[in-house]
């Protein structure tokens, strides 16, 4: 497991350097980027960490960065820094899942606490995604048809209904069900449903 990185994005070179110094000497691994576009292009796509970004930047601003990052498979928690209070932006940022919203001249304790919180949240988000992937991996041992059958089973369809939907015999459906429970080692429909939920098949 790589250690988590704090990505700092700010168009103000001096502020960028100063912030990275403070975080480095406080024990965080840091990478800096002068713009949102550069961050999106050059970050370690899968690595754990969090983002500390200026809210107002030319070209792509912090909120746009937040939206772009949310669409990737690795949505890191974001900490916004701003020169001055800006309620509409902070509301939008918080609705978009911002970890925190700090003034640029906030005391160092607030910044360091916020970074720690963001990294902790990333770790727990990551663990949750890991569980989902593990569940999905278990489901990967199933054939396509078995997956289809599973989808119906967990939605509560009867063998007969599944057979109708797939245009196969009810007996075949039963065979598929046996195969599913054997492969997954799950005895009951309730457990299957839970597994499917964990894997994100069911909402």
């Amino acid at each position: 497991m790589t250690s988590p990185l704090v990505y700092i994005v700010d168009d103000d070179a001096s502020f960028l350097t100063a912030t990275s110094r403070l975080l480095r000497v406080s024990g965080f691994a840091v990478r800096t980027f002068p713009s949102a576009a550069e961050f999106l292009a050059r970050r370690d796509a899968g690595a754990p960490g969090c983002v500390v970004t200026d809210l107002h930047m030319p070209e792509m601003d912090g909120l746009e960065l937040q939206a772009a990052l949310a669409e990737t498979g690795n949505p890191l928690p974001i900490l916004f820094l701003t020169g001055q209070g800006d309620i509409p932006s902070s509301v939008r940022a918080m609705r978009g899942g911002a970890e925190d919203f700090l003034e640029k001249r906030a005391p160092k304790e607030m910044l360091l606490d916020a970074v720690k919180r963001a990294l902790a949240r990333d770790a727990s988000d990551r663990a949750a995604r890991g569980r989902q992937r593990a569940a999905a991996a278990r489901l990967e041992s199933l054939t396509e048809r078995e997956c289809e059958v599973l989808g119906f089973v967990v939605r509560g369809l009867l063998n007969k209904q599944i057979a109708d939907k797939l245009g196969i015999g009810e007996r075949t459906v039963k065979l598929h069900r046996t195969a599913i429970t054997t492969k997954l080692g799950v005895p009951s429909v309730a457990e299957l449903t839970r597994l499917a939920q964990a894997a994100g098949i069911l909402p």
Binding site: D12, S14, F15, T17, A18, T19, R21, L22, R24, V25, S26, H56, P58, D61, L81, T82, G83, Q84, G85, D86, I87, S90, V91, F101, L102, E103, K104, R105, A106, P107, K108, M110, G156, L158, P187, S188, A190
Partner: protein, 728 residues
């Protein structure tokens, strides 16, 4: 075999009032608890999926090992207490019964029946159904078909009522009443919220309560179906099982815990007399081992002889003692008190007559609590900042609220608390407070500026008028008056600059915050570097260099501000238009970015310089560009653009234009915009353009406005080119 009936054996072990979880089975004998029965009083039975049949007093249940079929086929779903001490049990592969206490089980094996619901008929035979959707009868160890028994959808629950016959809830075909072949049916057409049903319970008044899968709780009363779901306050829309306590309240199981709801409230909501029910919700925090009730089959829960309500969950039986949850309808919701207010880690006195936060406060935290000695952890809070967005937050158990970076103004923080039954206190608590502005954000400062400007320009207008009337006779006095006017004009110009600076303050603050923030971070980092026993001196040196540079940067921002603020006599010189526009753009770029406006500057390289006063011309440009930015407040984001262009016109004058893409100027406005006190802005003084025109005229140029062919308006002014370069 000897069964000893104990009186709800586990009760004295209750670790928490009201809710106790009893594990069922261990190791291989463990299975999901799906069915429950009590027979006789104090002796409980649990049918488990994969773990066989368990029995015993609560907290001390053991595997029933005396029936070999149940050992070999341990996938059981239901267990049912029968008349005369009998017991019925069924599962995936079998159905069985014992006719009296201590009697032997007679087990009938079935092929792929998947029995989910069992009921005892009037003649003591067992009616049962399962995933096949067909009702069958077990009489004397033999399975018989029944007339009109095909309900086409899987059985989820059966129940007996006062009338002869049985109720059947199906998963897909709705509700049936079957009485020896006489069949009645209710579906969504008759008012059910869904045909996917989960649980049934007929109460003493003959009302049939129906738990649905996704449609909330429905009931059949006097031939009509009513329903209430989570949009009306129900905790969950999938309900199983439904139990009733001695007070006539319903207790509903769901995968998100157990909730209690009063029938009266349900009736009120259905009749439109009330908007929502206020259920009491129990979950893990109340001692449930897991919040989900398994409860897919019938009967999955029961009210014990001693009045306990038993629910089956994955590995446990959860016993709820309804007496520990007295109805709170009569008791008032808890009173909230705001206990502490903290601003940037400093405590403030919430009882202060006027709570005021200093300018620039970053973070404020309100701590509050409510008093309820019985269940302090069940109180839920919600709060809002009335002036900021006015919406209540989602209720939670958190006892503090945090706000960051509130702009200056008066606010009211309101907080309210609800009982465990969701009843909110009538008033809650509130606290008015003020975030104090910096001096340039204050009303008095702005008013003063406006008043001074009005006094100054009023005087100016009057002097000019008087000068015009009397100019024939009183040339001398006119000359004096004009000198005075010029003096006043400088004063007014100065004051408008001060006012403009107020408008610019947020942009300037942003510009100052960059270097100041960097200095702060560098200094903090430097301190930490120094704390090292062998400090990295190179790094510290670099930090000091950066601090000095940022200090200069902050200084230059302040110099620019002071340049504008200084009262100043006309100093005419040659000025580069590119520099002039560049300085103005520098002051406004951050502001423009904040408003999502593209600021476009186009000045040809070979443009000759102009003759004029730097500060005054800056003021004109600032004024025009700020107006243009203001004009774009409501414009679509994609078209927000302010362009500043300069060119040499045909008469060798330099023309500077400021265009926006806003709504343009109304025809009536076009004639008046340069009049003093004419303004379209809520906070405008209507002096900016009047003064700008005076300044440009004093420079020998013209300032005028026109609407664009496309969207928006353009302001143009001309200035004479400086002579030394004009000829080239």
């Amino acid at each position: 075999m000897l069964w000893v009936g104990t009186q709800a054996g586990g009760l004295n072990r209750l670790s928490r009032p009201g809710v106790t979880a009893y594990p069922v089975g261990t190791g291989a004998a463990q299975g999901e608890v799906l069915g429950l029965a009590e027979c006789p009083a104090g002796e409980y039975w649990a049918a488990t999926w994969g773990g066989g049949l368990h029995r015993g007093p609560l907290g001390d249940m053991a595997l029933e090992a005396g029936v070999p079929e149940l050992q070999r086929f341990p996938f059981l779903r239901t267990v049912l207490s029968l008349d005369h001490g009998g017991l019925g049990v069924s599962g995936a592969d079998l159905i069985g019964r014992r006719d009296a206490q201590g009697g032997d089980f007679n087990v009938t094996m079935l092929v792929d029946a998947g029995v989910t619901a069992v009921c005892e008929d009037a003649d003591s035979s067992l009616l049962f159904g399962g995933k096949t959707g067909v009702l069958q009868r077990l009489r004397a160890g033999t399975v018989e078909p029944v007339p009109s028994g095909n309900f086409t959808s899987p059985f989820m629950a059966m129940a007996k009522g006062k009338q002869p016959g049985v109720w059947v809830a199906t998963h897909g075909a709705g509700l049936f009443h079957w009485d020896q072949g006489k069949l009645e049916r209710w579906t969504t057409a008759e008012g059910l919220p869904t045909n996917l049903l989960r649980a049934l319970h007929e109460d003493a008044a003959g009302t049939l309560w129906i738990g649905t899968s996704g449609g909330g709780l429905a009931w059949l009363k006097d031939g009509r179906i009513h329903s209430v779901d989570s949009s009306k306050g129900l905790v969950n829309d999938s309900i199983c099982p439904i139990l009733e306590d001695a007070e006539g309240n319903l207790w509903l199981g769901s995968i998100h815990g157990i909730s209690r709801v009063s029938k009266g409230e349900l009736f009120d909501v259905a009749a439109g007399r009330s908007g929502a029910v206020h259920p009491l919700a129990l979950d893990e925090s109340d001692g449930m081992p897991a919040s989900e009730c398994t409860a897919a089959h019938s009967p999955a829960g029961l009210r014990s002889a001693s009045g306990l309500l038993l629910f089956s969950t994955t590995r446990h039986i959860v016993a709820v003692d309804p007496k520990q949850f007295p109805a709170t309808a009569g008791t008032p919701p808890p009173e909230v008190r705001i206990e502490a207010v903290v601003a940037d880690r400093r405590s403030m006195d919430p009882k202060a007559a006027e709570l005021a936060f200093p300018p620039g406060v970053q973070e404020m935290t309100f701590e509050f609590t409510a008093f309820n000695y019985l269940k302090p952890d069940r109180i839920r809070f919600r709060h809002r900042l009335k002036e900021a967005d006015g919406e209540w937050t989602t209720p939670s158990r958190q006892r503090s609220a945090r706000f960051s970076l509130l702009p200056p103004g008066d606010y009211t923080f309101e907080v309210n608390a609800a009982n465990e039954d969701g009843r909110w206190h009538e008033t809650g608590a509130s606290l008015a407070f003020t975030v104090q502005p910096f001096y340039w954000q204050t009303v008095w400062f702005r008013t003063l500026a406006v008043l001074l400007v009005m006094a100054g320009s009023g005087g100016m207008v009057w002097k000019v008028a008087r000068g015009r009337i009397r100019h024939a006779q009183e040339r001398e006095r006119l000359a004096r008056a004009e000198a005075e006017t010029l003096e006043r004009r400088h004063e007014v110009a100065h004051l408008t600059r001060v006012a403009m600076l107020g408008e610019l303050s947020s942009a300037l603050a942003h510009e100052l915050n960059q270097p100041l923030g960097a200095i702060l971070r560098n200094a903090e980092a430097g301190e930490l570097f120094m704390a090292d026993p062998a400090p990295d001196l190179d790094e510290i040196r670099a930090i000091l260099v950066d601090i000095r540079k940022d200090n200069q940067r902050a200084g230059s921002v302040i110099d620019r501000m002071r340049g504008l603020l200084k009262r100043h006599a006309l100093e005419t010189g040659t000025l580069s238009v590119a520099e002039l526009t560049g300085e103005v753009a520098g002051l406004l770029r951050a502001d423009a970015a904040r408003r999502n406006v593209t600021l476009e500057i186009k000045v040809p390289d070979d443009l000759p310089p102009v003759l004029g006063d730097r500060v005054h011309l800056q003021q004109v440009l600032l004024n025009l560009v700020i107006n243009a930015l203001d004009a774009l407040a409501d414009a679509a984001l994609e078209i927000r653009c302010v362009s500043v262009h300069a060119r040499l016109d045909a008469s060798k004058m330099i023309e500077v234009s400021v265009s926006d893409t806003g709504p343009g100027i109304s025809p009536g406005g076009l004639a008046k915009i340069f009049d003093p006190f004419f303004t379209t802005k809520a906070n405008g003084m209507g002096m900016g353009l009047a003064i700008s025109r005076t300044i440009i005229k004093a420079h020998g140029g013209e300032l005028w406005a026109e609407n664009n062919d496309g969207p928006g308006a353009t302001f143009r002014f001309t200035l004479p080119a400086a002579r030394d370069n004009a000829g080239t």
